[in-house]
Amino acid sequence: MTDQPSQAEQVRRSLKRRYRKERRFRSYGIAAIAVALLALAILFIDIIGKGYSGFLKSTVTLEVTLDSDVMMLEDPTDKTARRMADFVAPLQQALMAELPPEAQDQPRAVRGLINNYASDALKKAVAANPEWMGSTRTMTFLASTDVDVYMKHQSDDRYSIKLSEQQQGWVDELAERGVIDLSFNDVLFTNGDSRNPSQAGVLGAIMGSLFTMLVTLALSFPIGVAAAIYLEEFAPQNKVTDFIEVNINNLAAVPSIIFGLLGLAVFINLFGLPRSVPVVGGLVLTLMTLPTIIISSRAAIKSVPPSVREAAEGIGASKMQVVMHHVLPLALPGMMTGSIIGMAQALGETAPLLLIGMVAFIVDVPGGFLDSATVLPVQVYLWSGSPELAFIERASAAIMVLLTFLIGMNALAVWLRRRLERRW
């Protein structure tokens, strides 16, 4: 009997092994987190590395002489006259004045430096300020996309430089003198989509996302919360409610494109709502986010301790008073967190929108719920498929904008939870 080690001895012996086991288990956990962080870091480095240049634009600052003979424009207040006038000539002249004399013979190469739509910008400026005619003004225009690519990526092999040797020489010289310059790309935030990369912006997509999300929020939050309260507090426990519960859980796992098909069949084909509008997008995304909101709201209601309910009932509150005065306020932070996470998920969704026509080229910035619109992730998708290489950096920049919104929404969810959550 004395050979048998005592119980304390046994424990002491195994202690080392148990500690080792625990250390190992912890290191697995740390390794798992490290892998996740590494993946995240690679994603961010790749996107930021590709996309930071999307936040820069190349501009050309010129001394433009607005001469009515050169422009063939007698009356700048007359619309028809403006339409027939030549707004390219003054730009070309101003640019040639900055360039060496051999440029005089190559108007096409000179025009290749300035953006296709610079003449439209000049036309708009003249229309707004007819008194400018006859004077010389210093104005800043967007450079052409080829110049933009050359300015930003001349040493990057992934981009091909389309400027000729001579044009490259001109651009180098103008850049040295500060005529061509890189500055913050405000166009990205003030314009809608464009097929000219220098003119393309995400404002249209941001507004489209905003309108779509407003519709989704206005519908899915009240419906989701009402459904959750009824199912959790009032519904009898029977086969029917069990069936509904199982189906809600199933719906949360349905691929989002199915909701798009449903939206196409019901909202567009049956109700005759127009294609590509935020209202339909919002309705479809409502269907998609509802299960998430219902499930999280029910969890939030369940976590309200029964003592609160019993105390309220004890002093004579009706069922409805218990819910409205006690359960709902206490469960609200959890419900809001769930809804925000559901909304963030909806913000990143493209698949269901494909079928209802929101994956589209839309230049005009939408002004309401019934204007054709697209959303941020769709804009990323459209740009990444464009043949123009200059869209790659814009797509990455748009991803950064989208991520900023997502991080903002998730941070809001965390803050709300911290701020309003009550612990028992």
Binding site: R158, R195, R275, V363, D364, S384, S386, P387
Partner: protein, 348 residues
């Protein structure tokens, strides 16, 4: 509480009524659907049109040629699109669908061509290949040595197909079956190569189509996704691989990529425009006449598309890689845009 309930109920009823009572709100923006191949060209026209005219910029959806036809032929009324783009001609079955749904007056425009190229990185050995050799390299089943039956494709390197080709493993990246580029490649290149071999000529039409249209799935042909940029990027890193994509992507990456010579023809603008280059297809768009005058700007948009400024020899569509029509074709297009003749269905 009761008041609140009544108010809520009336709002819901009113909402439901407006939703049902206004099946198709009037639309003032042109709605265009269709091919993803025409999309990069049509979007440029739409944007120019929006900027230079008083009409709003048309809305363009890239739905694929078939999907576009389906939407276009759904009927007359502003909930349906006004114009559909296609990277192939309308099929007789689609024309019939349109007629049955009341879309009777349609005008057809052929707007130029697009080539499909087989390209590789500049550092790779360039291919000079015939359609027949291309078929032997990429088909799932090829004729056996004596030509009597079909066997699983045994060719592993290009030189297995023909000794004049490089001694490198066959690895071609191309689009998946959902893509229009793939459809066109199969129809023009694979079938083109197939028809030159006697064994297929003697087959039943359906069996022949199946044999000619099957691409091998043993790893030599890699489906690289719908995004042609991705294929271009992969070619940069892999000098032994070849990629299949549209001509505009070659144009954009000139200097980094080289294109294979097919049946002795290089994919140049001239060869594609003259239909000498074998893997070229024409691009089309179709206008619903019933919508002219209902949705403002349709005729003006068509005029912009067919103008010399867009499709002429110095037009802006040329800059984005469209193989523009010849001068005579352009004149005809401009006349068509004025007269808007209807299709009869016999021309298909």
């Amino acid at each position: 509480m009761k008041k609140l309930n009544t108010a809520l109920a009336s709002v819901v009823v009113a909402g439901a009524m407006t939703a049902v009572a206004t099946p198709a709100a009037a639309r003032d923006t042109i709605s265009i659907v269709g091919s993803s191949t025409v999309y990069p060209f049509a979007t440029v026209v739409a944007e120019r049109f929006g900027r230079s005219s008083d009409f709003p910029t048309p809305k363009l959806e890239s739905t694929g040629s078939g999907g576009g036809m389906k939407l276009f032929c759904q009927g007359v009324g502003t909930q349906n699109p006004d114009i559909t783009n296609a990277s192939r001609r309308m099929k007789p079955s689609e024309f019939k669908l349109c007629q049955n749904n009341g879309v009777e007056e349609i005008t057809e425009f052929r707007i130029g061509s697009d080539g499909i190229v087989i390209a590789s990185s500049q550092d790779a050995e360039n291919l000079d290949i015939s359609l027949e050799q291309l078929f032997l390299a990429l088909a799932e089943k090829v004729p056996s040595d004596d030509g009597s039956e079909l066997v699983m494709n045994p060719n592993q390197t290009w030189s297995d197909v023909d000794s004049s080709l490089p001694d490198a493993k066959i690895r071609v990246m191309g689009p998946p079956p959902t893509s229009g580029t793939r459809d066109a490649f199969v129809e023009l290149a694979m079938q083109g190569g197939c028809e030159e071999m006697p064994i297929f000529a003697n087959m039943e039409e359906e069996a022949m189509e199946e044999a000619c249209h099957s691409i091998r799935e043993d790893g030599a042909f890699v489906e690289a996704g719908e995004n042609d940029n991705l294929i271009v990027q992969k070619l940069m890193g892999d000098t032994e691989a070849y990629g299949i994509f549209g001509y505009s992507f070659l144009e954009e990456n000139r200097g980094k990529l080289q294109a294979a010579v097919i049946n002795g023809k290089k994919p140049t603008v001239e060869n594609i425009a003259k239909d000498d280059y074998p893997i070229a297809r024409s691009l089309w768009f179709y206008v619903k006449q019933a919508h002219i005058g209902v949705v403002p700007g349709i005729q003006e948009y068509v005029a912009e598309f067919t103008s010399a400024g867009a499709m002429g020899p110095n037009g802006y569509l040329k800059d984005v890689g469209l193989i523009v029509p010849t001068r005579d074709q352009l004149m005809e297009l401009a006349k068509k845009a004025e007269a808007m003749p209807s299709m009869t269905g016999n021309e298909l």
